[in-house]
Amino acid sequence: MDLQTTALAIIAVPLLGSFLIPVVGWMRKGKLTGYLAVALIGAAHLMTWTLLGPARAGQVTSFKIPFYGDLINLSLTIDALAAFMAFTSSLIATLIAIYSLGYIEHGDHEPEYYFIVTLFLGAMMGLVFSTNIIFLYTFWEISALACWRLIGYFREPDYIWKADKAFLVTFGGAVLMLLGFVLVYAQYGTFEIADLRGKTVSAVALVLILAGVFSKSASVPLHTWLPDAGVAPSTITSLLHAAILVKIGLYGFARLFCNGLSIPPQWHKWLLAVALGSAFVSACAALQETNIKRLLAFSTVSQIGYTFLGLFAFTATGYVGALLYIMAHGLAKGGLFLCAGIIEHGTHTKDMTKMGGLFKKMPVTAVAYLVCALSIAGIPPMAGFFSKYFVIQGMVNGGYHYLAVGAILTAVLTLLYMLRSFHTIFLGQPRGESHHEGAPVMVTVVAILAVMTVLAGFFLPMPFALAKVAAAQRTIFYTLAGLWR
């Protein structure tokens, strides 16, 4: 299979294949829908492996499938950025899908669950390879619809309200972003990101597009839907936080503004300030939270702020750091949410103040939680340390020393709330009824994620090389534009 066919298959297999799941579910109850979802998502992931070699070699493959005249084409690009994102997202999504086999067991709406999860991943894959703004927007909104359905999965009125809130905030942002796209089109006459390279975006269009990006990636002040989305099943929150939804905003920004449109330099420090503010405020909130899933959600908002810091520094090191952050955060946060799922299953509560002493009852979950928490906190040799290092080094290289100090202080807060949560949940006196470790498949998946978090640190040269190529592909453009630092 050539690269074009592979890219199309990576999108089509989960996106179109997802529609088979309700049919199978209707024909036959049981776990078959789950296995089918794992197969579809896993197949997509396996195919992404074939992209890594060419991507690391710096190969860029672009092609168009005409859709509506010259205006709207299904333009796909396979470069280091796309390969990195596709690989990382599909890997974590596959593990989450496998975990779901134990978690969603005997649920009332299993076919619906697996259908939307698979569709969600398909939309993400479509978005990752799309370089036509209209298609990018389309996949963006498919993911919003999937997210809305999944957050309200348990169908209780309060949950429905929270799902509506998530949808309305992200949809509202996306509408503003669409207006921004229209303004860009009005200015430059194209929706092709390749044709927009080096073109300076107007201030109004930038603000409108950023509204979409920030709402999707749950950045302060458009973040409050994400902690509320904790009412969804843990697998879904894991998917939202680690693999897909919030990463869409980050990826969207990287594709649009690091490989396409140019942001005037006077905006850079303000963008950094906004990202740092988002990271700091949500870290403060995480320190005050006692609900484990809300705490982890605030942590995501904070870490997304960190990732934006890497992108907004507009330096090669910062960009590499941001990409590594996406991977490291995905693995660790995926693990943490899945640990939260096991804990919630075992204790029947999300309130950390009602937990304690769980280490003895859930040793594997406890160790996995600690490893992932340390990675998020940026403690070596976990992958999170390296990504955090490169993000801050990128800021320092860009000359933003004071903001870098702010990022360091936020990192200290992260260390504080992560360790405190571990101590509250797993150490001290046991509270409540007797608890038990999760189902084998669930525990295995969190253990795999924890091990991968460590291995990603030890084998950093591999993702680092890919991220460097992605940064270089961006560098070539910026060097030509004379804007590269």
Binding site: K165, A186, A283, V320, A377, F386, Y389, Q429
Partner: protein, 602 residues
């Protein structure tokens, strides 16, 4: 070189498999000694090797570079010795820990990562090994059980925070032209602001590792709750060696200090030295007193490094090695005595040194090194630090002497407690419980001879020492020798005066608790009001509460109101237009197309 890398790899791998041995107490207890034996074998194999270097790219500045030279060999010799002693002591003591497997795993990880810190030639890779060491420290404290968990958290947060500062400093160091592989040092005077800031940040990180003020507050607390094995191996010895040797790397190889940098270092050194001496004089817990006296010498070493004089720097390094040797010996002794007495209170340990002469003599020999008596390495170290300070700032020398006198007084009090003449039942002790304390005491006593033989290794680290080399600096009797003599006499006299007024050595200096001059400061210290960590945690708690309640939650309220309002408005409106009439939907589409077309045309 490959054999040297085994020193890193074998203990770390053994740490990873430790959980498998948790159900077999004998295997678990034997694991540290077995690994120590393998590590020592690796060390001996590489002992005859000539200086070697190994380098492999990893990611960015994190090049995997390792070097083996005479200085590193000397450090590794000490690390291997400590590892053997710890392994021997662990044979019996591991079973007494609340979480034995965690203790063993942490010890192994600590020794492996300590060897990594010693062998790496890249400061960024050093940071990674250092963080692994920090995790080992966290684990070894937490192995003390539930009561130790809070202190473990405190140690990890303090260590992590100081490391973040150091990371920031290292980034600035790179920007200033510094190399991760320590090429040309950065001259602080040439980059007045950025250079100084970078130096201070890295200095704080390195100092924190050694237990320098204000990052020291977890150490006395850890001494009370963590197993003695862990404390002797980590905070008492390895941490000091790693922290101070890196500090010398910072001041000697990474930066060329200017006057401001030296003043900052001296201030931190003096505050570290004096901040803990008063509490140490009145402390009633044996292990906590030892821990407090493990902090004070760090101030001495920092002050020595601050001199930027060959003598001062070499003195700091010698003090570091001597201190690590005698302090770990003292902790092993304290652990063994505590296990038999069932308490670490001074009152309960009185005279136990007499009852167990091996421990008593081990402690006494360690005491001689602690008060820097001839011929211990402590004597040479103190002489050199005094000489360095005499060259740089004679007025500071007077303060160092005062600190040294108080230190002698505290140590004498401990010795008097251990050797107090009173009837004590002879407790039964296994050989592995007292041999490490005795051997470390003997080793501490002979550190002077080791240092005299290892002068070339010291000179490799501190640079050329002029005519006659380092040997000429300590191998003579001069005015500073009489200063040292004065320190011993006054220190011991001070203790004797304090002892005169009390019924037992354990009560010496207890009058300071009620003295108007010192009672207030001691009370503040006991209430942890001078503990910046406790204060910092309260400030963070307040700040985050304010941000959370009055900013983040407010945003949520507004967002909810907007969403609710939007739903309230759009609900009826959508119901009205969503009336099932085909023409209505068609007009929607037409209006939408017109809007898009208008926008495109614009």
């Amino acid at each position: 070189m490959t054999a040297m890398l085994l020193l890193i790899v074998v203990p770390i791998l053994a740490a990873l498999v430790t959980p498998l041995a948790r159900k077999n107490p004998r295997a678990l207890a034997a694991l540290p000694l077995t690994v120590a034996g393998l590590s020592t074998l690796g060390f001996l194999l590489a002992l005859g090797a000539s200086p070697l270097a190994l380098s492999s790219p990893f990611a960015g500045p994190f090049t995997l570079a390792f070097t083996l030279d005479a200085w590193r060999l000397l450090l590794l010799a000490f690390v291997c010795f400590f590892q053997l002693m710890t392994g021997m002591y662990a044979l019996r003591s591991v079973a007494g820990a609340a979480r034995p497997a965690l203790l063993v795993g942490s010890l192994l990880l600590a020794f492996g990562s300590a060897c990594g810190v010693v062998l790496t030639a890249n400061v960024f890779v050093l940071l990674i090994f250092w963080e692994m060491f920090l995790l080992a420290l966290y684990g070894s404290i937490a192995s003390g059980g539930e009561q130790a968990e809070r202190v473990a958290l405190k140690a990890l947060i303090i260590g992590g925070t100081s490391d973040f500062l150091m990371v920031m400093g290292l980034m600035m160091y790179l920007l200033l032209g510094g190399s991760p592989l320590l090429g040309q040092p950065v001259r602080i005077a040439a980059t007045p602001e950025a250079g100084l800031v970078a130096f201070v940040l890295i200095f704080l990180g390195a100092g924190a590792k050694a237990g320098m003020f204000p990052f020291h507050t977890w150490i006395p607390e850890a001494a009370e709750v963590m197993p003695a094995t862990g404390f002797a191996a980590l905070p008492a010895s390895l941490e000091k060696i790693l922290g101070i040797s890196f500090l010398i790397t910072v001041t000697n190889q990474m930066f060329i200090l200017d006057r401001r940098a030296r003043v900052i270092m001296v201030i931190f050194g003096l505050v570290t030295m004096f901040a803990v001496l008063l509490p140490a004089l009145v402390e009633r817990n044996f292990k906590k007193t030892l821990a407090l006296t493990a902090i004070s010498p760090v101030g001495f070493m920092v002050a020595g490094a601050a001199t930027s004089h060959v003598a001062g720097i070499a003195g700091a390094l010698m003090y570091m090695l001597t201190h690590a040797t005698y302090k770990s010996g003292m902790f092993f002794a304290a652990g063994a005595l505590e296990a038999k007495a069932g308490s670490a209170r001074l009152e309960d340990l009185r005279g136990l040194g007499r009852a167990v002469p091996a421990i008593g003599w081990g402690f006494a020999l360690a005491y001689l090194a602690a008060i820097s008596m001839v011929p211990t390495g402590g004597f040479m170290a103190k002489e050199l630090i005094f000489e360095g300070m005499l060259h740089r700032a004679p007025s500071v020398l007077a303060l160092l002497v005062v600190g040294a006198i108080l230190n002698v007084a505290v140590m004498t009090k401990l010795l008097a407690v251990v050797w107090e003449r009173r009837p004590v039942a002879r407790p039964a002790l296994a050989g592995c419980e007292y041999v490490p304390a005795l051997l470390l005491g003997v080793a501490a006593f002979f550190t002077g001879l080791v240092f005299a033989a290892a002068v070339p290794a010291f000179e490799l680290k501190v640079g050329p020492a002029g005519p006659g080399g380092l040997t000429a600096m300590f191998n003579h009797v001069g005015p500073l020798t009489y200063v040292s003599l004065l320190v011993w006499i006054l220190g011991i006299a001070l203790y004797l005066v304090a002892r005169e007024r009390t019924s037992s050595p354990a009560e010496a200096f207890s009058g300071l608790r009620t003295s108007p001059a010192t009672a207030g400061a001691l009370r503040l210290a006991e209430e942890k009001k001078l503990d910046w960590y406790e204060v910092g945690v309260k400030v963070v708690e307040w700040l985050t509460r304010v941000v959370f309640r009055y900013f983040e939650r407010l945003i949520d309220v507004v967002a909810d109101a907007i969403v609710a309002g939007g739903k309230a408005v759009s609900g009826p409106a959508l119901s009205a237009v969503h009336n099932g009439v085909y023409g209505n939907y068609l007009s929607w589409v037409v209006v939408g197309l017109i809007v898009v077309l208008a926008l495109v045309l614009m």
